[in-house]
Amino acid sequence: MSRVALAQGHAREFETIYILRPNIEREKATDVAGKLNDAITTTKGVLTTVELWGQRRLAYPIAKHHRGVYVFMKYLGKGDTVAEIERQLRLSDSVLRYQTIQLRNNVLLETVTERADLASVSFEVAFEPDEPEFTVERELGLDAQAAERRRRDRDTDPEEFDGLNDEEGAAAGARNRWEEN
């Protein structure tokens, strides 16, 4: 990455993806988004895109979570903007992981328009009522829905089905295999 000093009125373009815990409350999610917004405005950055990807399956478990709420944002700023955003993400317990990529180097600030309407992200879609929350009881198969959820998860991802403490789930899985054949 180029370390050449930026010309007057120019900035770098970055994109950040962060993953929130799947069982996060709506207020906490908006709180994180608000703090990132403040971080951009205080460092004179410009927010250009915010996308809520919603709850997705993680390719591997992070902090014992198998799902996460993905939020994607694009903004212009300098190194201090990124530093402040990443500091906020590090401080927040609700953030499982984040990643920032530099997209473009010398962008004239006048060529981009600020999207003030993006200041507040709506977390409506992230919390589908039928999406089971991740709890220890459910993961251990002590919950009635756990067996069903495990069976569904196994169809996409067989290696996760260890069947630990989950005899009921294993039995249900075996039955299902039998029926499918």
Binding site: I19, L58, A59, Q99, I101, E159
Partner: protein, 89 residues
């Protein structure tokens, strides 16, 4: 894989070069509209093995430039849990 005696026998002892199968063409060179994006795990999935390893150029046929870009994209996708580091069956 297609066997082609002219290519496979290695009777061109001089340079020791052997061509196996037919030459593959880089996907991203043949279709310029396709962009390598770490946010698109479905597109990258073609370039990883069942175990999650990055497929070598000699197999995928990607050109040098795009293989390097692909490797970076796959590694970025792994960090943000869009692609796995390893998979076991």
């Amino acid at each position: 894989m297609e066997t082609n005696d002219d290519f496979d026998r290695g009777d061109d002892k001089g340079d020791g070069l052997r061509r196996r199968g037919r030459k593959r063409i880089c996907r991203y060179c043949s279709d310029k509209a396709m962009l390598i994006d770490y946010k698109d795990p479905q597109a990258l999935a073609y370039f990883i093995t069942e175990r999650g390893k990055i497929v070598p150029r000699r197999v995928s046929g990607a050109c040098s430039l795009h293989q390097r870009e692909l490797a970076i994209a796959i590694k970025r996708a792994r960090i943000i849990a869009l692609l796995p580091f390893t998979m076991t069956d």
